[in-house]
């Protein structure tokens, strides 16, 4: 194993033993191999730098590189955006540790030196984000490498496997050239993605949103704090913003849209699917500190005469996602509110049991204009998980769930 910082600056000799130059930069060429050091850039004082390819590197030790070819076989260096530079793109930069779910700064990069056909290939195994790398960087060039190694062995290691490293590249074109993907990042819980985004600079945040699919992006954005939500969405183009917002619950979408600049929110609403936009616009008419401002319009409504079996079939048929399943709202023949059935009761009921028998007592509902404080009190008094919102004619128009209450209370703290 060898550290990247031990190779950077190393004197390089060709097969005849002549000094060629010093290693100024190392490049990973993702087009060839995603973890191999594909090129060494050698600086030669006032002459133009040249490049050694991976199959021209004979051996590598701290501070010294020996090539397996003659100097004349090396090409002149041409900058290439598709190469990942060790020094410029990795060392001292922030990366996302997708395993530890946080943003860290790279102190050093660990390379494995593998012998193949008389050459040495350097493969990136892990990045060092701990004390060992820091001490190495500090002492490098002052103390001989072997002495640094001895000190490092006594220190606790903090490293991240190369597979778990997610490189943050704000430039979308370069992302493509470097073949950077965010598969592992996208697998994290949206709340973790949001936490990571909060640690980054605005451009870097934007680059993360750009790499996520709409559904994940929607979930992650919904978890961001209000200020960041608006900032991130306002920087998207309205079409993409609309696609992402359509994936959100109407109440989350409404909260977000009303915080946007009036012009942006108009553009986004125009781009959105008509039905979803109508849902959101309906919610926008309520002030955020009322029941209407807290509620979601995505509720499951069934007739009070329906049986448990029919309701379950209904839920399966409409593929209602489990996280939207809170209370089932019952209506009578005039489509007015008749009661609510907590999912727990539904779970335990017999298949042919009628919904009306399972309804929660007493029958509770609020108007959309009810103040949030009164809503909190009702939740507390009856230990509710959900509460129906009805209009003047007693038609159910939405529901408040306990997570809306928690968010709203936190915002008020």
């Amino acid at each position: 194993m060898i550290h990247a910082t031990e190779v950077l600056g190393a004197e390089t000799f060709d097969s005849a033993g002549n000094l060629v130059g010093r290693v100024k930069e190392m490049f990973i060429v993702p087009d060839e191999q995603p973890n191999r050091v594909g090129r060494l850039m050698l600086a030669r004082g006032k002459y133009r730098p040249i490049v050694a390819r991976y199959d021209q590197i004979g051996s590598v030790s701290p501070g010294e590189v020996r090539l397996s070819t003659d100097e004349s076989a090396l090409e002149l260096y041409q900058p290439n955006e598709g190469w990942l530079a060790m020094q410029k793109d990795l060392l001292d930069q922030q990366i996302i540790d997708t395993n530890g779910r946080k943003v860290v700064r790279v102190n050093d990069v660990d390379l494995a030196d593998q012998r193949t056909n008389g050459n040495t290939e350097l493969r990136v195994t892990q990045v060092d984000v701990g004390l060992t790398g820091a001490v190495g960087r500090l002492l490098h060039g002052i103390v001989p490498p072997s002495a640094i190694r001895r000190v490092q062995e006594k220190l606790p290691q903090r490293t991240i496997r190369w597979d778990f490293v997610n490189i943050i590249e704000p430039d979308p074109l370069r992302r493509v050239k470097l073949r950077l993907t965010s598969e592992r990042l996208a697998e994290l819980h949206p709340a973790d993605i949001a936490d990571i985004m909060e640690e980054l600079s605005p451009d870097e945040r934007q680059s993360i949103v750009a790499t996520l699919d709409e559904e994940t992006a929607a979930e992650a954005i919904a978890e961001l704090d209000e200020r960041l939500q608006t900032q991130v969405v306002e920087k998207l183009d309205p079409e993409r913003a609309a696609d992402i917002i359509e994936e959100m619950n109407p109440d989350e979408a409404a909260d977000l849209i009303q915080n946007l600049e009036p012009e942006t929110s108009r553009e986004v609403l125009e781009e959105m699917d008509t039905r979803e936009a109508a849902d959101v616009e309906a919610l926008l008419n309520f002030s955020p500190d009322t029941a209407g401002g807290m509620m979601t319009t995505e509720i499951v409504v069934v007739g009070e005469d329906a049986t448990r079996g029919e309701v379950i079939d209904h839920i399966r048929f409409h593929e209602i996602p489990p996280d939207e399943l809170d209370d089932i709202v019952l209506i009578n023949r005039e489509a007015k509110l008749a009661g609510t059935v907590p999912v727990g009761r539904l779970l335990l009921a017999a298949t042919d049991q009628r919904m009306a028998e399972l309804a929660f007592e007493p029958l509770l509902s609020v108007s959309p204009h009810t103040k949030d404080k009164d809503v909190f009190e009702i939740f507390d008094k009856y230990n509710l998980r959900g509460l129906v919102v009805v209009n003047e004619e007693n038609y159910p128009i939405g529901a408040i769930t306990v997570d809306d209450v928690v968010s709203r209370m936190l915002a008020k703290l």
Partner: protein, 441 residues
């Protein structure tokens, strides 16, 4: 402060009217919230600048030279604004702290030494703040063995137990307490006409005492650590580039309000100490005591209270800012939003600075004077380095895009930088070789 509140209210009202009251009342409230959310770092940073060392210097300046140095406040306001504005702009545009940027652009080793220097310099400053607490409380008859540990505990609890938002509110209140100096100045019944004249018309005197005092004024007003704190403040507030003008206004209001307080401190001391021939004052606490017979009990108590407030305020921000900057640069978790367990390096640095800073003051024969001079010298050596880093970074097109300095701004900024560097080198020289003459002596 009052003018500041009125100003922000008026501005947010204008903005709300300008962009139209859409849909419902929410946007108006939101715009005020947006503005207030941006405001803070600039105001807090500039005010915390008037810390124990600063107040001492201003006091001595007023006592020794009366109104004669007031004219320097206007160019100093400009210098303060120019240098702080660059950090605010970097914070807003890049979304990264100053130490982050130094790390990314200049590598690990430079960062390490920058951080080490920051740690030493800030430790010296922290000691000076606790010395200020001890001195102020002594005026109220409370021993330093009681006041310093209490202050250290208070400061530590405030930051570790409080949430970011609460802490910032308390800091804003601390900014308001600087008004006690304004009241003190009015109680001292100064010659306002003369004060105004001396502020507007520069009067240069060529004698070494006067020049050294001038240098000391500049040196204490622009402290290197404040750039890190200011930039981090704007990054943490997540001010978007679009709202940069609010951030700039915040910095401007902060710079001016800082200098207004300095004005009143100098005026207060000029009208009392200087007018009564009490020119041989070397520290703020001494000034507060001397004020008693000439300006009355209230003026003296308010003066001492101002010193206490300033020292406590700076004692809570300095260690916090230092711990933050160091952890950020070296890649440890930092920030008050982390729990103790998540950011051990951050909290131990923070605690360590307070414990050591207060501990040194508690030593029975602590060489306080030497420590104060040391912290002053360290600031002086340190400032040019930080300024040069800032000027190099702000002109990087790949970082700042279209927000690099304009030519005019660069000329002003480099000129400010060079003047600052020369002045502080003079101050360092004076403090090292002529202790007692550089204001803090």
């Amino acid at each position: 402060m009052n003018t500041w509140i009125t100003l922000t209210d008026t501005l947010s009202t204008w903005m709300a009217q300008g962009k139209g009251l859409t849909r419902r009342t929410r946007p108006l409230r939101r715009r005020i919230a947006v503005f207030l959310a941006v405001v803070g770092p600039g105001l807090i940073t500039s005010n915390v600048d008037n810390d124990a060392g600063g107040i001492t210097t201003y006091t001595v300046a007023g006592a020794q030279f009366g109104y004669l140095l007031l004219w320097s406040l206007i160019p100093m306001t400009l210098a303060l604004y120019v240098s702080e504005e660059m950090c605010a702009r970097m914070g807003v545009v890049t979304g990264k702290g100053l130490s982050d940027l130094i790390r990314e652009e200049f590598g690990f080793r430079s960062t390490f030494f920058v951080m080490l220097a920051a740690l030493l310099v800030d430790l010296g400053n922290t000691v000076a703040e606790f010395a200020g607490v001890a001195a102020a409380m002594q005026i109220f008859g409370i021993s330093k063995y009681l006041s310093v540990p209490l202050a250290a505990l208070l400061v530590w609890m405030l930051v570790v137990r409080g949430s970011s938002r609460q802490v910032e509110k308390i800091f804003l209140v601390a900014c308001a307490f600087y008004l006690s100096y304004v009241v003190s100045a009015f109680l001292a019944k100064p010659d306002w006409l003369l004060a105004t004249k001396e502020t507007v018309i520069p009067s240069l005197h060529v004698n070494s005492g006067y020049l050294l005092m001038l240098t000391a004024l500049v040196g204490t007003t622009i402290a290197p650590w404040q750039f890190f704190y200011l930039q981090a403040g704007f990054v943490e507030k997540r001010v978007p580039a679009r709202q940069y003008k609010h951030a700039r206004l915040d910095v401007l209001v902060g710079s001016i309000s800082c200098m207004v307080i300095v004005f009143f401190i100098i005026v207060c001391c000029a009208a009392t100490l200087n007018a009564h021939g009490l020119t041989n004052i070397s520290e703020a606490a001494q000034a507060a005591q001397a004020l008693r017979p000439v300006a009355g009990r209230w003026a003296a108590d308010l003066f001492a209270f101002g010193l206490l407030n300033a020292s406590l305020f700076a004692a809570s921000i300095l260690p916090l800012s230092t711990a933050h900057v160091i952890c950020e640069g070296l890649g440890f978790e930092a920030g008050l939003d982390h729990k103790l367990k998540e950011a051990p390096a951050f909290y131990s640095l923070y605690t360590g600075l307070i414990v050591v800073g207060a501990g040194i003051i508690m030593l029975p024969n602590a060489p306080l004077l030497k420590i104060l001079v040391f912290s002053q010298v360290a600031n002086g050596i340190w400032l040019p380095v930080v300024l040069i880093f800032i000027l190099l970074l702000i002109n990087r097109r790949d970082l700042m895009g279209q927000h690099t300095n304009t030519l005019t701004f660069n000329v002003i900024a480099w000129a400010t930088g060079i003047v600052m560097i020369v002045l502080t080198l003079v101050l360092v020289y004076a403090a090292l070789f002529q202790p007692g003459s550089a204001g803090l002596g």
